[in-house]
Symmetry: C2
Subunit: 102 residues, 2 copies
């Protein structure tokens, strides 16, 4: 199996009881996922970068949360407008976006 | 912020439209999350291991899927009964469970 080089996890407050409800969801978590998917397609990164929505990371007050593995970089207070920069600077350029790091 | 030493992601087929529907969900994805949470508490690993439920990883035919970062180990066809072994052998012992690796 070919693993992605980078795996981007975005909290969408998806609960295991099937509800999707919480801070990151309220604060555009779903839109952030969609923007990552658009950017990945646009930059032709589909083969090497994968995006997943997740449940709560337990640090809601710092949300919306985006975590990138295997780099182990945690971003907080992410907005949909930050997505392009994360892709260009971190994913393509290899330089994490310091201003958003937790 | 203190990051977890290991982050376990379990597909529960959580969709960004709020539905939770799909192969891993049908095949005990939610029970696998709960078992990981129980084992982590029992083994007092709460400070260093975190579990997240996720949306689809796109390899449903190999599900239920469990991914562990930053190790970047992908497991397939996981059952709730495999959870104890993953915690003991991989998380505590540092030896990934080869039979389940994709």
């Amino acid at each position: 199996m070919e693993k992605p080089k980078r795996h981007i996890f975005v909290c969408t407050s998806s609960r295991i009881n099937g509800q999707q409800k919480g801070y990151c969801h309220a604060k555009a978590g779903v839109e952030i996922v969609s923007r990552f998917m658009e950017e990945i397609e646009e930059c032709e990164l589909g083969g090497e970068v994968f995006v997943s929505n997740t449940g709560c990371f337990g640090i809601c007050e710092k949300g919306p949360i985006v975590v990138i593995y295997p780099d182990n970089i945690w971003y907080g207070s992410v907005t949909p407008d930050d997505v392009e920069r994360i892709i260009e600077q971190h994913i393509e350029g290899g330089e994490p976006v310091k201003e958003l790091m937790l």
